[in-house]
Symmetry: C2
Subunit: 591 residues, 2 copies
């Protein structure tokens, strides 16, 4: 049985000391003083620790069941969902006009991490609702917003995203679901969607499906796609529930993990739907959901790893096996705890330094989103656009690796379902796949984001890194950070240069290195984050701030990342510079 | 539903052209002419393709069940097991004196790979029997051998290894199972063992357990351990089965994968056992099983990856999604197949170049074992001792990564159990854990094998690499191979040097880099294998040998490995040279 404690102190360190939220010029950040954020994190932590985490293993073993067309979630999920609603946790950063609390997205991310760590599958029910809320909020008419958003903010009704069909996932231009316009301005939606997370369940009175479909006259490919709001149950003018809307569940998929979330085949059979955003411009509206979802998935990557890590630490401290090579450390026991062994340390440090770096990157990313939404900052918009595929792809690849490493520390016990470590690995695996498989993220980064607006955003990123390094010129203590960061940044620039020089005449020369570029960028981002964290930790130590051991641990963890993870940058660059030939040499038949 | 075709041609290339088995001086290799090995591989392939592979998914979904103290294996396993026995596949390299066919271990490995790829969980029933056979064959008295081996060679009786107890796995010195000597020279064994693969099942009349236990007078720790043969059912003097031997199954573990194999808690309650090897020297006898088992697990690493890869190739060719960035390749279809995309290629090439390199290393390792057993070659013994943890650790880490990559190519479909790709990843996961978790392999490599016999074996390995590179001096075509191999070898030597210079005064300086050293060695080994394979392929092309495309594919696959995988060597060296400080900086409480 696994356990989880919300990392309140690490989060506070980021919010108050690294990002210094209350001193930010972003509207609303002034309220995020130390006492307030501490209270929010503490309350969220209690819900996660006491209500969500105890249901995590049960959700995995019991799973969701389809009986007579109705999906039943695991025991206890309904009560927990009620607790989430009653605590107002579903409405944190939503628009106060529709019942939300209007907090910054930064706080939504911090609280979101806590809930995902405690129970990823459970949290998806409200997570997807939030994505659907955002799409409706951005693209819906006032009438649609008034009718649907209050109930979605409270999670009385939940939401879904319906993109994938059996024959197409990434390539949405191939989709076949049809939308026929009706006289009253609505559409009738017909088609089959698969892999719909939270597609049906017993936690809410109604489910608001956002469905991509083709309406007549839109032409071929993705250009002809529109986004529709399709409720499971029709909503009357007075807001009460009306007749069922011909939406049915074909089956629940048997998956590798996230068993607590119902992944459904959804059938729409002339279901009534309403257009969201412009006709035939559904891809744009859909990306409102997708970008938010991608950041959310990047968060899942390290949030699951955090839960796995916490349990690995407990096991490594408790399990007595072997003796320290440098001399017995537990003379009164039959053996020393696992944590004395250097290779166990290596694995724990890998996890710890990744997770804390990824948390910093995610929180910083969330603050960029707030900057966009609350200040209309175009530079922040470009930067977060560039970083979104990195946060999604890098953090989920590494998050899975991290969960697998945590499992490894348990030895044979890690492979037994009873211990719960297998679940973390199996749950973390999906994050590399959904909301755009990580190869698609790499393609987005190299094929679109890198050259967007004349390469302006990546240049801005390099300037940021340069300025950060420059700020510590002459500070000997910061050298292990700035030197590794400079080296990584230089390698990243060389990689971008290679793409510029070779990608024009042979696009494969860039795309063959896309995943390596994504990981190289990820390491430089985490190197930047560790530099910022080290700076904040030294500042606290210099000021004689309270918990000296906490700040020293931060610095040591960061030094580990710089010494042991940043060397991956050179490997990625070497791979990139080997070009397309090794990758594309074989004919398709030769595999 | 997955499929599998035995890679006959790739195996023949290794046996006949790279290892040139028939021309070897190892007794028995003269018989391994092209026609003979082709026939063996083809027959094994048919059994694997037609009998074992179709049961793989079913074994996973159905699993093993404990009912009224009896373990039931999945439907169809019994018929398949009979087919294996009747085909003589359980006796391939066993001693003809006990009914074996006396073939080299090399052939056992080739055939073993085929069976593991087709159905890993199923093959473990005979795989563990083989390990137990080897231990009895090496350490048993003539009487024990005559009584047990013929039935084990035929797999009428199967075997197990009983090491782990609830409180100890790696640290066997802690074990509590007791052996009380009896007047008749036998022992009564009492204790509980866990994680016993194939611990009980309905495929054989009897199960011969090899059990580590402590007999009186042996002292503390591993020194007091002895190895005992404990049959599930006692065997009468005339070879017929007698009374049950107080061996019972406590439960079957619910695991992440290999569901088709029953992993049991075994209870011994005064069960009669017979000493194998010397009293209080059971660890040595146990290592006979373990070393063979570790090579077998290293084989599982890439064998499961091979099956996953084959299915990923099929999917990448069939699934239409997106268009090639360099121009439409499938104009008559709605989209191009996945395989046109560079990042899909990268993943397939990663898998292909790893798997073929690992197969070469495994076959070469098997030939070293034959050299030891059939020629008493001490140098070969030292070399395979050095390479065993590398084959086990590196190949299972990479094999899992490879299976995960194959799963990734399926996108969302890879996460659905129905497709079978999740099973490959879940099955492959155990190989990183059992027979000594990979961290223990790294410890064995750096802590024991590297310095064994004054470092003689690692020096011999470096000489081998040097000679291989030198043999191609002046051959321009071989440069991409020899240059990358030289660079990797130099980095490996630098790492070994770092350990020598720092490990004496601080053992943690070596152990903190042990896993990186294991991976660095693995890459150099595969670089060496690819150099040998490229040489053989060029020789065949120069000689105008038949299938030109086959040899060109080999060379291109090797070039991929050298260009895109060997750069990992520098990263591992950089991590190693960062020393113990980053790894050991934190106090245990600081995690």
């Amino acid at each position: 049985m696994t356990s989880y404690i919300a990392p309140r102190k690490d989060m506070q360190f980021l919010l108050q000391e690294v990002l210094q939220a209350p001193r930010s010029d972003i509207p609303g950040y002034g309220d995020l003083d130390e006492g307030f954020t501490a209270a929010v994190l503490d309350e969220a932590g209690k819900v996660a620790e006491e209500v969500l985490a105890p249901l995590n293993a049960l959700g995995d073993s019991e799973g969701c069941v389809l009986e007579n067309g109705v999906v039943r979630t695991p025991k206890g999920f309904d009560a927990a969902f009620r607790a989430m609603k009653e605590g107002g946790w579903t409405a944190l950063d939503c628009d106060p006009e529709y019942g939300g609390q209007g907090l910054p997205y930064l706080m939504q991310s911090a609280v979101g991490e806590i809930f995902v760590s405690a129970n990823m599958a459970f949290n998806m029910y409200q997570g997807l609702t939030h994505g659907a809320y955002s799409a409706i909020h951005t693209h819906g008419t006032d009438a649609l917003k008034a009718k649907y958003l209050p109930k979605m903010v409270s999670c009385d009704w939940t939401g879904t995203m319906n993109l994938t069909e059996p024959h197409c996932g990434t390539d949405l231009g191939l989709l076949r679901t049809k939308a026929e316009p009706q006289e009253d301005g609505s559409y009738l939606i017909t088609g089959q969607k698969i892999f719909i997370s939270a597609g049906d369940h017993d936690l809410a009175e109604n489910i608001i499906h956002l469905v991509l479909a083709k309406a007549p006259g839109g032409g071929e490919g993705t250009k002809g796609i529109s986004l529709f709001l399709v409720p499971k149950i029709l909503v009357n003018e007075d807001g009460t529930l009306g007749a069922p809307n011909n939406v049915s569940v074909g089956k629940i998929e048997e998956k590798m993990g996230i068993h607590g979330n119902a992944t459904c085949v959804m059938n729409y059979d002339g279901s009534k739907g309403w257009l969201l955003g412009e006709l035939h411009k559904g891809m744009r509206a859909m990306f409102t959901m997708m970008n938010e979802a991608r950041l959310g998935v990047g968060l899942q990557g390290y949030a699951v790893a955090e839960a796995a890590y916490q349990n690995a630490v407990i096991y490594a401290r408790d399990r007595l096996q072997g003796r320290a090579v440098t001399g017995v450390e537990n003379p009164s026991g039959p053996a020393d705890p696992l944590i004395v062994h250097p290779d166990i340390r290596r694995m724990l440090m890998d996890q710890k330094s990744f997770i804390e770096g990824a948390r910093a990157l995610t929180f910083w990313g969330a603050s960029l989103i707030d900057r966009v939404h609350r200040l209309g900052d175009q530079e922040a918009d470009g930067l977060i656009g560039l970083l979104t595929p990195v946060i999604k792809g890098f953090q989920t690849d590494k998050g899975f690796e991290s969960a697998v490493q945590a499992q490894q520390i348990f030895g044979g016990h890690g492979y037994i379902e009873e211990q719960g470590m297998s679940q973390f690995a199996r749950d973390a695996r999906i994050a590399m796949i959904y909301e755009g498989a990580n190869g698609v993220q790499a393609l987005d980064l190299v094929g679109r984001k890198l050259a967007a607006d004349g390469g302006k955003h990546v240049m801005a990123f390099f300037e940021l890194v340069k300025a950060e390094c420059k700020a510590h010129d002459g500070d000997e203590r910061m050298k292990p950070f700035t030197e590794a960061l400079k080296a990584g940044s230089k390698q990243l620039q060389a990689a971008a240069m290679y793409f510029m020089q070779n990608g024009m005449k042979n696009p494969n020369a860039a795309l063959a290195g896309s995943t390596d570029f994504l990981h190289l960028t990820g390491h430089v981002c985490l190197g930047l984050m560790w530099t910022k964290m080290a700076k904040a930790a030294y500042a606290a130590l210099d000021a004689g701030a309270g918990d000296q051991a906490f700040y020293e641990t931060k610095i040591a963890t960061g030094r580990y990342y710089m010494a042991r993870q940043m060397p991956a940058c050179a490997m990625h660059l070497a791979r990139i510079e080997s070009g397309a030939d090794p990758v594309m040499a074989l004919a398709a038949e030769a595999f």
